[in-house]
Subunit: 307 residues, 2 copies
């Protein structure tokens, strides 16, 4: 059986002390089956964003180890930074990549959350698809007032009790928000006009908040230096709102103003399926199977290797 | 440094005896770093076609082991089958997949060929990009008259001496043709007409032999049962003759008869780059890097793992 692959982007409340940052990421480098794609510390945000890909078990092991380091090194009572946060280990989102469903990722979040709370003594809130209370699907609801407000309310207000390990927060490490969500594709479309209203109108036509595609977030903005405008989007569910469909809708809308698409940008990482699906659409490939792609088949076989 | 990946499709002159076939493929299953994608024995051809992907060193090791088995189990003097052949191990083509150039694959072919001849005592001819004599680029030139004619001519005619280990062939195993070639993509385009002449005309417009794209082979044929026609192609160099370019040219030519493209087929395996390149064209993605694809980056990192 092919290996299950997830992405996980844990956020830690430390963006300044190099030694602490390196101690936190050390288990991600050392754990077999856990691949550290990237980590970026932001001094202003005082925050560390880590990008991991690999097997759920390996990532879980490394996360607990990293969390113990963060818990002991970060005191939320002294933490300052520009990004909203409630804990030393602030959020841990699990994202399905291959051979794993969203439902399995939700179960994984819950199982991991229990283990995490037991081993670190840090209370846990579940969010997004793993939320146990509907309002907690939204991260901003859980983080309202940030650590400074939550440390009291998590004790006194049942509506704000953690899902695990409460009431109240960890005295120095606060709480951690754990959950499952789809992979976010950052997709921008640049248009041959200087009129930013065209980009704004088109963003309104495609984004969910204005009645467009249900899983698209987007804004229209000017690229002043290039003399272009951009529809800048997050595709929140690329399986339901395929990239090609969003692009072709934008092209169609832009035609109203005689404006053409100059180029697009896929920003950051993207799952193979999101690109292959669009390739198969444009090329009209019948019955295309991603396992026909040599590298993807090889990855599957390598996954099977050490069972 | 990321691991070098090649494809190799060795052909053995045994398609009937199950035990021999299994003995030949055993090293491909057992060698770490060599991945056996597929193997198919054809009884009429009396031939075994094996599809391998992996690291050059691992594939080389497994090939020598498999060749020793084939050499000792197959007597070309008694071999009968419908496919042209000159040896127990008939051809070994190396194809670059990632982190390796064609030039490196040519060097690899020559290095492997010397080792192969030394360890198996089977003479070697080099073909395609690895040919040492221009006329030997073409396999059919080397295989002319097959084993039955070559076993004498390889001894008596200097034009037909093997490149390594000659003159003459191995008394039972014949000779092996080793070389390097590009990955062949089998790409078909189905058209909404019953007029096979449309497919034939279009095949003539795109194929190299009629002055079309330099690296496209193709024919037009009828898909009787479906009431369609097909331009059936081999894209011999997908980097020079991109799939999207060939497809859009066919679409343009078909428009002359008011015929539209019903669907396309990518038959068998395809390197990621061939599909991603077409996706980037249609989606107008600026500066797209295959390493943005999670699975491809992961494959690279897994390759680095056990250095």
């Amino acid at each position: 059986m092919a290996k299950r692959l997830i992405e996980c982007v844990p956020n830690f409340s430390e963006g300044r002390r190099k030694d602490v940052i390196e101690s936190i990421v050390a288990p991600f480098k050392a754990t077999k089956g856990c691949y550290l794609f990237d980590y970026r510390a932001d001094e202003d945000h005082n925050r560390l964003v880590v990008s991991l890909v690999g097997e759920p078990e390996a990532i879980g092991d490394a996360l607990v180890e990293a969390a113990l380091t963060a818990r002991d090194a970060i005191d939320m009572n002294a933490h300052q930074g520009g990004h909203p946060r409630i804990g030393a280990v602030d959020v841990i989102p699990f994202t399905p990549i291959s051979n794993i469903t969203m439902e399995e990722c939700v179960t994984l979040s819950h199982d991991f959350g229990r283990r995490y709370q037991a081993e670190t003594a840090i209370p846990v809130y579940f969010y997004e698809e793993a939320a146990l209370r509907p309002e907690r699907q939204r991260l901003e609801v859980i983080r309202k007032g940030q650590y400074e407000v939550l440390k009291d309310e998590a004790r006194t207000n049942p509506d704000r009790h953690p899902d695990l390990g409460g009431p109240g927060l960890h005295p120095t490490a606060g709480a951690t928000v754990i959950g499952a969500r789809k992979f976010l594709v950052a997709f921008n479309v640049n248009l041959a006009t200087k009129d930013v209203n065209v980009a704004k109108e088109i963003a309104n036509a495609v984004r969910a908040s204005k009645g467009g595609f249900c899983h698209v977030k987007g804004i229209g903005l000017a690229l002043e230096e290039r003399g272009l405008v951009q529809v800048s989007m997050n595709i929140v569910d690329y399986e339901k709102n395929a990239l090609y469909r969003v692009l072709e809708t934008i092209r169609m809308e832009a035609a109203r103003w005689g404006v053409s698409v100059v180029e697009t940008e896929i920003y950051g990482m993207v799952p193979a399926a999101a690109v292959l699906d669009s390739a198969a659409y444009y090329m009209q490939v019948a019955g295309f199977d991603p396992k026909q792609v040599i590298e993807l088949k090889l990855l599957e076989m390598m996954g099977d290797d050490d069972r």
